[in-house]
Amino acid sequence: MHLTYQKLGELILSSENTMYRTAFAILQSKEDAADAIQEAIVKAFSRINSLQEDRFAKTWLMRILMNECFDQRRKRDRTISLDTISEPADSPREEYSELYWAISRLEDDLRIPVILFYVEDYSTRQIAELLEISEGAVRKRLYRARARLKEELTELED
């Protein structure tokens, strides 16, 4: 049976944290993340019949969201620099650790797997499906990210 609209709505709302953190990880902007999420919700409802297996619904939903985030980025064609990383509303910089900011400064292909793996508890296999890369590539990126963070945090601690 197809996923019903009601069930899709429940899935979206139960995944809201994951959706927000993933969109924020990609777009580095709360406003942009909100736009991407809103578009993704519209597209998910319009494409509900494209979901072949209900058990893959969350992966399907997240892929729609990620494609929307990447589309937004391409349209806007901008480079996120440290200066433009927006801080979470009502949360000054000092409330977040150096680890948080170091992750924020990673490039996309490292930052996104890190967020999915360490924050959202996705397995490497699930991340591979979402990003449409191999599991080996996911592991490689996670290790590269750890190596980079270890270098940066060592410097900061000094």
Binding site: N17, S46, G136
Partner: protein
């Protein structure tokens, strides 16, 4: 601080975004339910559609069906008085491709009549009069259709501009297969798993590329229905492998019906008995997905399956550094990512050498501590440690036009454990940290100069070490488009990696491929494990490249 600590402080969704999501989700549910009476149309953005210019296309019709319509719209925005002729053009492409297009054409008389009259003044009487003439017009229009079909280059005005509003319609299932029931406004279901869904699109013809390129069609036929034109298709794969398209052109609708596990007879009977009833309310056409939208998206998807794309892939492999083949005991450098002097870089100072490749019928040589947490021993070995047999399937992958993906051979095979001992030597003068180890086994099958690696086509230049092999004397190659993929117990490949990394020589190892440190001038030895089909052992190579760049270096492990 550990990486896992980040979870505690990563921000949760802000309240305003949470509220936005709730509101948008609620809105979309309501909109979807409203559209459900339109049989699940899809939302499109109100970006404003404009009709494109007409571009003539040469046709060599394989089968043509003509339909005649006395066109009267249900709204007052535009009205036609006269004959509108439709042709459903179907053109076969290759063995499994089918191009489908519904073309609306007007005769010169009707064109003059429609431009002379003031559409907004069209009266109910004129409408009724036009409708009465339908039967009388049918014969003449049929003749005209045949004439037009013989003259594919005859002029046409193909533009049908959607009005801003249309009458809302709902689906009526005039026939429901036995044992099924209507589970929603647009779906039928049964307890035995049969399912049928109907999707609606607004029918527009503004785009000159209004040809739906269907692929993997193994059967098709037109049939009579309440719609002006209807066609049934059966696809080669997919759960919903039967489709029917119904063109309710007079109501500006195209219905696409998808069915799972129904008989062909039931699919056609259900489709033939579908009708649309007006609800008396109007819809804004800007909110709905059009047939043009669907064609554009579907046609874009099949671009990835065309021979030209796969030729490009083959060219890509050919243009990369020529694949090298090494033998057991031979040391060779391979570009590797590592952290050196605090910088993440790539180095060719790491030498690789396969010392041994042993074959075992049981798992006694494995240390479970180094097995990936994703693997369960019971999945591949009995309690006494002997290996379980596996199912090996061979699929010919098609392009959907000349050939479809299909299983060409299946066999149950004995499984062997391929236990590989690999040594990595740091020949540089600096320590290497965070080295990641890759390796996968691949079969090489070759025929007629095209070398294939588990479904990837290569040119001869890129694959210099392949032999022409037929698997057990079976001809595995069918059709014009030969790409063989093997599936080992559901895993694509001749076997599957165990994700087994035994780094006991350096007292590290957590079942991952991460090597924390290879000091300058020193070596690390690792044992890798792969489950392989016994039958494929004579064809196995170890590929140490990553998925992105396969065939950088292969080691001949053929046994």
């Amino acid at each position: 601080m550990k990486m896992e600590d980040i979870k505690k402080e990563y921000p949760s969704i802000p309240d305003d975004i949470h509220q936005m999501m709730e509101a948008e989700t609620d809105k979309q549910i309501k909109l979807a339910e409203k559209r459900s009476s339109e049989s699940a149309g899809r939302v499109r953005k109100a970006s404003g559609r404009t009709s494109g210019s007409f571009r003539k296309k040469r046709w060599t019709p394989w089968r043509i069906a003509a339909a005649v319509l006395i066109g009267v719209l249900a709204t007052g925005t535009v009205a036609y008085a006269g004959t509108r002729l439709y042709q459903l053009r179907l053109e076969k492409q290759g063995n499994y491709g089918l191009d489908m297009e519904l073309v609306a054409e007007e005769t010169a008389d009707q064109e003059a009549a429609s431009t002379a009259s003031d559409p907004s003044q069209a009266s109910a009487a004129e409408t009724a009069e036009a409708a009465k003439g339908e039967n009388n017009e049918a014969a003449g229009a049929q003749e005209a259709a045949e004439t037009i079909s013989d003259q594919p280059e005859a002029q046409t005005d193909r533009k049908v501009t959607l009005p801003d509003t249309l009458e809302q319609t709902q689906i009526v299932f005039g026939y429901i297969p036995e044992g099924m029931e209507q589970s929603s406004l647009y779906q039928l279901a049964s307890s035995d798993g049969r399912a049928l869904s109907v999707i609606s699109f607004l029918y527009d013809e503004g785009d000159p590329d209004q040809v739906m390129h269907l692929t993997n069609v193994i059967e098709s036929e037109t049939f009579e229905s309440a719609a002006k034109a209807a066609v049934y298709t059966k696809l080669s794969d997919g759960r919903y492998d039967q489709r029917a398209y119904l063109f309710f052109a007079d109501q500006f609708r195209v219905l696409m019906l998808m069915a799972k596990d129904l008989s062909k007879e039931d699919v056609i009977r259900t489709a033939a008995a579908l009708s649309l009833e007006g609800t008396g309310e109007n819809i804004e056409t800007a909110d709905f997905r059009t047939w043009s939208d669907e064609i554009r998206d579907e046609n874009r998807m099949i671009a990835y399956e065309t021979p030209s794309y796969l030729d490009a892939m083959a060219t890509r492999y050919a243009s990369m550094p020529e694949g090298k083949v090494h033998q057991i005991g031979e040391s060779f450098p391979m570009l590797t990512s590592a952290t050196i002097n605090g910088e993440f870089t790539e180095t060719d100072a790491l030498l690789y050498r396969v010392d041994q490749a042993e074959v075992f019928s049981d798992i006694s040589v494995l240390d479970p501590a180094y097995l990936s947490s994703d693997k369960e021993i019971s999945d591949f070995a009995r309690e006494d440690g002997t290996l379980l047999p596996a199912e090996l399937h061979f699929y010919s992958r098609g392009d959907g036009i000349n050939c479809t993906m299909e299983e060409v051979y299946q066999t149950s095979v004995d499984t062997k454990l391929l236990y590989v001992t690999l040594t990595l030597e740091n020949t540089g003068d600096a320590d290497m940290e965070n080295v990641l180890l890759y390796g996968d086994i691949r079969p090489y099958l070759s025929r007629n100069g095209f070398d294939q690696i588990d479904g990837t086509s290569l040119t001869e230049e890129a694959a210099t070490y392949l032999n022409g092999i037929a698997y057990k004397g079976e001809d595995l190659y069918q059709g014009d488009f030969d790409l063989i993929r093997t599936q080992f117990n559901g895993h694509w490949g001749p076997g599957c990696p165990l994700q087994y990394y035994d780094f006991s020589s350096i007292a590290v190892g957590d079942g991952t491929n991460h090597i924390p440190l290879i000091p300058a001038g020193e070596s690390v030895t690792v044992h890798l494990g792969y489950l392989v089909s016994d039958d494929m052992l004579p064809y196995i190579y170890l590929d140490l490249g990553s998925w992105e760049y396969p065939l950088q270096n292969g080691i001949d492990l053929r046994q």
